[in-house]
Symmetry: C2
């Protein structure tokens, strides 16, 4: 039996939701807790109820929808409804609307799987507001709530938010996990000196240590593994005058990789390179880890199942790791979890330029429906591929 989602309804709902918080700059302003965010969750309530589904909210404001009278355990599907200021219309919203469309399609068809599915719009994934502690607030709250015990798994459909799939013509991806992220602050102590009278050989130039280390990070990542990524986002020199050899310097960097073991290797190499450069420049340097988010590994069986579903829907499919954080990383600590990606045109996200072609949005939602059916039916990937 093959069920199809309604492309028209999916796209229309995306358009409707995008109007809530739509700014003059073309971006969506639906920061968690804003009037637009409350309006969006009200609109989601209404949309669920119009489809004959129950809607309720948990104490933090996560919006849930399910078939009236269904008793679980449920396969949870969804994403978040908040945006960054001036964000795009798809980040989070697409996963929520697609999940609703999947459940609506099953419910309309009277499919028994509908009773085993719950949809969710998570509260405050972006973590933009002060005190939201870096985001993932709603999904983290769910994982501390007894309701998590009633879930059989979690599936999240999302846009990639990067250019990898778009540039390679990939239409669907089964996401194997989420990179771990480590953030660092590097401080360098040298000796402030007159930039004219002090020859190179007599300097302890903290600025050179920072510049050379910043320039080296990309090579360090690439030599360890092609999938490791890093960034130096901020640098400053003290005292900061053109005629003074910097006596101090500071930089902020991060590294991301699909496993903590690889992150450990990058970490060690970064410390070695920094120590060597500091020594060469006659300075002392300290590298401090300011935060560390471990890599999330999704459920292997669920990823295989999603991967098999994607392959049946498109030949342009791959397995990939997510370089951005998602609610799925939190859920994966409690229930079997997997994600599906569709491409982001040009790789843009968190901006008004964020986009994905309609036919791929429809394809992604259809793959989510296929995946949900397969999970509920307990089909293994081999059976799907057959």
């Amino acid at each position: 039996m093959s069920l199809n989602i309604s492309a028209e309804r999916l796209l229309a709902d995306l358009t409707h939701l995008a109007q809530i918080g739509s700014g003059a700059d073309g971006g969506i302003h639906r920061v968690a807790g804003s009037a637009a965010d409350f309006a969006a969750r009200d609109w989601l309530d209404k949309t669920l109820r119009c489809a004959g589904l129950d809607s309720h909210r948990d104490p933090v404001g996560n919006v849930f929808g399910r078939v009236p009278g269904s008793s679980g355990p449920w396969l949870l599907m969804g994403s978040h409804a908040d945006t960054v200021p001036g964000g795009g219309r798809l980040d989070g919203a697409y996963g929520v609307i697609a999940a609703i469309e999947v459940l609506r399609t099953l419910h309309e068809a009277g499919h028994p799987a509908a009773e085993q599915i719950e949809v969710v719009a998570f509260w405050d994934e972006e973590g933009v507001t002060a005190g939201s502690g870096g985001g993932l607030v709603g999904s983290s709250a769910l994982c501390r709530h007894p309701h998590v015990e009633e879930l059989s798994g979690y599936l999240e459909l999302h846009i990639e938010q990067g250019p990898r799939m778009d540039s390679q013509g990939i239409e669907l991806a089964a996401v194997t996990g989420i990179v771990g992220v480590r953030r660092y602050e590097v401080t360098v102590q040298g000796e402030e000196n007159h930039a004219g009278t002090t020859p190179f050989s007599a300097r302890s130039d903290a600025g050179r240590v920072a510049s050379r280390t910043a320039a080296a990070l990309q090579g360090i990542c690439q030599r360890i593994n092609g999938s490791v990524i890093g960034n130096v986002g901020a640098v400053s020199f003290g005292p900061g005058a053109p005629n003074v050899v910097p006596g101090s310097a500071r930089l902020e960097a991060e590294i991301r990789a699909g496993s903590d073991e690889i992150l450990d290797r990058v970490d060690r190499r970064l410390r070695e390179v920094l120590a060597r450069i500091a020594s060469e420049e006659g300075c002392t340097a300290t590298l401090t880890e300011t935060s560390a988010k471990p890599a999330a590994h999704f459920d292997a069986d669920l990823v295989d199942l999603v991967d098999a579903v994607c392959r049946r829907r498109s030949v342009r499919t791959e397995r990939m790791v997510s370089y951005a954080g998602h609610d799925a990383s939190v859920l994966s600590t409690r229930v079997p979890t997997a994600m599906l990606f569709v491409p982001s045109t040009g790789g843009f996200s968190h901006s008004a330029r964020e986009d994905t072609p309609d036919h791929l949005l429809v394809l992604g939602a259809q793959a989510l429906l296929d995946s949900a059916l397969a999970v509920v039916a307990g089909r293994v990937p081999q059976q799907l591929a057959a």
Copy 2:
């Protein structure tokens, strides 16, 4: 006939002047226009008058001293009396006190050369205060004043303010000129992006352009000429967050070399390297010259004369270019000019750590006396060396 300065009087006067503006931090706070600066110039007036010399000030506040009734042309000798905040006791002050000691010695001895010598304590060399336009205020004013036409030349004795002489055991140096200085602002435009989802290959990382260029400057200088020097004193990235690939970057740099031709070569090479790096990183970069001070070349005959004098006083002598600016660079545009350097212990200057051993302070002042006598007598270096 050999005349000797009084070591005791020279060192005592240096100690007295250092008490005016002396701070609890051990540094001298005698910024131009401050109460301490006015007190210092009053003290100089008194010191000149006690030595039987005339003292007067020009409209900007330069303090001049000469033998009463002398009619010029005068060989001007001196330096500046102001300091940076928390500066050392020798920068400027040494050249002023030594010049007074030289004229005092000649005047006491009834030497006819005394009537052809004038001493000066220049106003506001350091240019620390707002509106002082980068310093050299008093010497620049003198060069616009009719009095400059009454000068036969200018000699300035100064501490090196860098470690070159001290580290090589050089006791006296004849300064051949002052490096030209060009200051630059480099702005880089890239594309701000998510530091996780954007692979290295898809980035236009303005921060990498700034870091790589900053790291490259030293090599650019050293490959052109061992005497070229450069510095990157300030760097900033925009927007400046660890998880955002920098979309913009800015750096402030300067280069110094003994000739404008060499500065031109460094300038060209710096622009080439910046353009190549920016292109490799998919960014655009602009290098703007924010200021350019041309190299000053002192009078060749006068430098030869000073050099010969130095060689007679010490075997540890060299000719060198000054990497710091001095009033002599301004004077050299109007009258034959030369400078003498004594070492700075450890190369420290503009700090309480600034120092030079007493015997070298005495040696420098004696070399200034010898030079003054040779100049006034019109002796050429060959005669001196004989």
